[in-house]
């Protein structure tokens, strides 16, 4: 660190954070204007509430609903961290046999939509599911315990969301300075206490970010909780819309859900802690010696294998089984490419738009902490906490009445995806900006370059991977999105998700199977990009 840098480090402590440029403020306000649409709609509907709607909401049942939903979200988050962190550590730091292959396999469940996954779980592991049928002949098992309800919702959500934690934490581990673990070992701490007292706390930001995505997913998910018949908040909201056709209580419930999401956000900000995680210095490009698992090799392989079995192989097997049965029964299974193209187009556009919208927000969060930033950041998360139908109806209302030229057009679908999934793009970008640190930019500018030039030549390449990761996550999630797509798509426009729905809604699983497989196959591509990103960050240079 030069004297100048040292002096500025001193100044940094006493001065408030640098003021954000006007362009940055304007850009983030523009993004917020779109993000606020669902909230404005909900406020509008909630304002119509009369005493009876309030009566409907303010009763013990709602308290239970809240507790149940929070309980589910908390349990799923803890479990996803408990599964995702060890897997990330095993596949990045140890000599686990085939660890690269495992890294891809255990992240693949991310591409399975939770409604498809939950359906497959029931079909496979239900009381009289495929597993029972396999066991019946040899063991005489007549029925397995019922998995619906809390256990089912908990298992399904955990299995299909832990990859968020796995991916973010894997990247976090790769970005970690391995010397701090050595330092701890040299200070008389065993491998285990080192993991607990140094590695885990240093990974707190990535664990918190992954946990946040999981927690909010569990709050807004409808597919898995409804298939597993667990009465959560989203189910109550859907019931108001679908059973009672009453928008006002639905809006009140949705606002409460937003409140829950904000509470989760505050928790996450606490969890991020005081520490800063700019990687110190130039970053030692030292080879990390893989940790020998020894007698733990087999238990580790069993862990990876069983997660893959339940989260990936099981659902895939069920889908393939349906497909084969459909062919055998002569069901007319046409594989048209139009829905695949449709999915690709909207999901790619959403990925690009989300990264562009996330940039100003990520930058504010990484560089200009303060009240304004906190409000912007929290607002940007509200869409992610809402069930798709709520955000979709908000856009139905505003677009059909005030922007009919936009209504039922592809751009509106893309906007809705951005509102729903923005945080998935913000998180990795923020991480990249934090890891790069502000000094790099200052160095560029000190060399007499303009702000624009520094952005293009220094910042852009350094955060490209973060942006790519964000784009890939948004792409994946958009590919799977159903409720908003159904309500907002142009008439006659199909995506793979709507094709799955078309088949499943008619009870024709074999018709849903083909698009489901195609969806998973297509999603595997951006997923590969994500996993590669983690791999590439490992710089193989022999020590000294």
């Amino acid at each position: 660190m030069s004297l100048v840098a040292e002096a500025s480090a001193g100044l940094r402590r006493s001065l408030p954070p640098a003021r954000a440029s006007r362009g940055l403020v304007v850009a983030s306000l523009a993004v917020c204007a779109v993000m606020v649409t669902p909230l404005a709609y909900l406020a509008l509907r909630a304002a119509e509430a009369d005493a009876s709607s309030w009566d409907l909401i303010l009763r013990m049942r709602t308290v239970w609903l809240t507790l149940r939903t929070l309980g589910l979200a908390a349990a799923v988050t803890i479990a996803a961290v408990a599964v995702g962190v060890p897997l990330a550590w095993l596949t990045t730091r140890t000599d686990l046999p085939g660890r690269r292959a495992w890294a891809v396999l255990v992240s693949l469940p991310l591409v399975i939509p939770s409604y498809v996954g939950a359906f497959a779980l029931i079909a496979a592991f239900g009381p009289r599911g495929m597993l029972q049928q396999l066991l019946e002949a040899p063991l005489g098992v007549e029925r397995l315990p019922d998995i619906t309800g809390f256990p089912g919702a908990f298992i399904a959500l955990t299995l299909f969301t832990y990859p968020y934690v796995f991916l973010l934490v894997s990247a976090g581990i790769k970005g970690l300075d391995p010397s701090i673990e050595d330092a701890s070992r040299s200070l008389a701490h065993t491998r285990w206490t080192t993991f607990r007292r140094v590695t885990l706390p240093s990974l707190r930001p990535s664990i918190a970010a992954g946990g946040l995505l999981v927690a909010l997913y569990a709050l807004h998910d409808f597919g898995a909780v409804s298939l597993m018949r667990f009465p959560a908040f989203t189910q109550a909201i859907y019931l108001q819309y679908k059973g009672a056709f009453d928008r006002t209580p639905a809006a009140l419930l949705s606002l409460m859900l937003v409140g829950l999401a904000l509470a989760v956000l505050v928790l996450e900000q606490r969890a991020r802690g005081r520490a800063r995680y700019y990687r110190s210095g130039a970053g030692t490009a030292r080879r990390v010696t893989p940790i020998e698992l020894g007698k733990w090799t087999w238990p580790s392989l069993v862990l990876c294998g069983s997660v893959t079995l339940f989260a990936l192989v099981g659902p895939l097997a069920v889908i393939v089984f349906w497909l084969i049965r459909g062919f055998a029964a002569g069901t007319d299974i046409e594989l048209t490419l139009a829905p695949a193209v449709g999915s690709l187009v909207v999901a790619s556009a959403a990925a690009l738009a989300a990264v562009a919208s996330a940039f100003p927000i990520a930058r504010l969060v990484a560089r200009h902490q303060g009240g304004f930033t906190r409000s912007v950041e929290r607002l940007s998360y509200t869409g992610y906490a809402l069930p798709g139908i709520v955000a979709a109806l908000a856009f139905v209302f505003f677009a059909s009445n005030f922007a009919p030229w936009l209504y039922q057009s592809l751009p509106l679908v893309v906007i809705a995806y951005v509102v729903l999934f923005l945080p998935q793009a913000t998180e990795p970008l923020r991480g990249a900006l934090m890891q790069m640190g502000p000094r790099v930019e200052e160095a560029g500018r000190a060399l007499g370059r303009t702000r624009r030039h520094v952005y293009l030549s220094v910042v852009a390449p350094l955060i490209a991977r973060g942006a790519l990761a964000g784009a890939a996550l948004v792409f994946l999630t958009s590919m799977k999105e159903l409720p908003a797509t159904l309500l907002l798509r142009p008439t006659g426009f199909d995506t793979l998700a709507t094709s799955i729905w078309t088949g499943a809604a008619a009870g024709l699983y074999s018709k849903a199977a083909a698009p489901a497989l195609l969806l998973i196959a297509i999603c595997a591509v951006p997923l590969y990009v994500l996993v590669r990103r983690v791999e590439v960050e490992k710089i193989e240079v022999p020590a000294e």
Partner: protein, 347 residues
């Protein structure tokens, strides 16, 4: 943006001219000459699945030359969409799986009066008393049972019989599904809230297996997970068409039993429709020969127009004696039904 506005205006102008042209030539409903509405197009929000009604819509296009832009979705979600769109709705016709969704949209004043001639064709039970929607097909609630485990004689005459402890662990249904909720709403309307609560508590005491929807309930019966499932009558045929032969038969409740509710899938024309005449032709078609025959033969439902009979062996509607309820009003009793379901722990 300017360009878009220009295109929008031009399109609107073209539309108006087109409409004017159609209006001049409008022919009385019921006519079937293929080309008088040629060039007209309708936007249909269809809560009925493409799998089942798609071919019928296509046939309509061929027969009349009217183009249909069909937007498929869940009936209730489409109803919610129409309610949000209000007068700006691009839809002309709303086709729904159930009367409740139509009733909800009608209650917002968004459905127009339907041609009396069409209304009159349809059994009074299966249309709106205000004339805002008309039934297209009827579906009866039944107890689908596993024929390997049970015979018709084992089953009670009334659905209330299933509260008997002997059915413990043997029954199942889909409480989140609107067809089950409509049945509960109907029961509240005819039997009162206390009797309905007692019935539901009796069911709960028998430890029912709960399903996501009707077809998985039928699959549960077929797989032997349960012996009896409360579903709509045609799911047995749908599942059999997909899975092949299944050991499932329908047990109908008759004589005005509370379990005997016959609901209707129906359609209505939106007040905001830009081409009510073409929309009327669609309703005419669906309640006409092609439509009624199609529902009888292809979706295994009850035709709702005199002179058409079910294509599969179903208990006659007259024998079922579905409770006397205005199906549009079911939307009104849904709220207490949901409360009750939640109260007994089924939601």
């Amino acid at each position: 943006m300017k360009l878009r506005k220009l295109i929008g205006t031009a399109a609107a102008a073209a539309l108006v001219l087109g409409l004017a042209g159609c209006g001049d030539d409008a022919t009385p409903a019921g006519a079937t000459e293929p080309d008088d509405d040629a060039g007209a197009s309708l936007t249909v929000y269809s809560g009925r699945d493409e799998e089942f009604v798609g071919p019928l819509y296509e046939q309509f296009e061929t027969d009349t030359g009217i183009t249909l832009d069909v937007r498929y979705g869940d009936s209730a979600e489409l109803a919610a969409t129409i309610m949000e769109e209000g007068d700006s709705s691009p839809a002309d016709v709303f086709v729904s799986q159930d009367a409740g969704s139509l009733g909800a949209v009608a209650a917002e004043g968004l459905l127009a009066q339907i041609d009396q001639e069409i209304l009159d064709r349809v059994d009074e039970r299966f249309r709106s008393s205000e004339g805002t929607w008309v039934g297209l097909s009827g579906r009866a609630r039944v107890a689908a049972y596993n024929t390997d485990e049970l015979t018709e004689a084992d089953l009670p005459d009334s659905i209330l019989g299933f509260t008997d402890p002997q059915w413990k662990g043997r029954i199942g249904f889909a409480p989140t599904n609107s067809s089950f909720q409509a049945f509960v709403a109907g029961m509240i309307a005819t039997e009162g809230e206390d009797a309905t609560r007692e019935f539901l508590e009796g069911l709960v005491a028998n430890d029912p297996r709960l399903y996501e929807d009707n077809s998985s309930t039928v699959r549960g019966v077929a797989a032997g997970e349960i012996e009896v499932g409360f579903v709509n009558h045609y799911y047995k045929y749908e599942v059999a068409a997909e899975d092949g032969e299944i050991p499932v038969e329908n047990h109908f409740f008759t004589g005005g039993d509370p379990g005997a509710l016959v609901n209707a899938a129906g359609a209505g024309i939106l007040t905001s429709s830009k081409d009510p005449d073409a929309a009327t032709r669609l309703l005419d078609y669906l309640t006409g020969e092609q439509g009624q025959t199609y529902f009888a033969e292809e979706t295994w439902e009850y035709p709702v127009v005199d002179g058409y009979a079910p294509a599969v062996e179903l208990v006659a509607l007259d024998d079922i004696e579905s409770p006397e309820i205005d199906l549009s009003d079911l939307a009104g009793t849904l709220e207490p039904a949901l409360d009750l379901l939640a109260e007994v722990g089924l939601l």
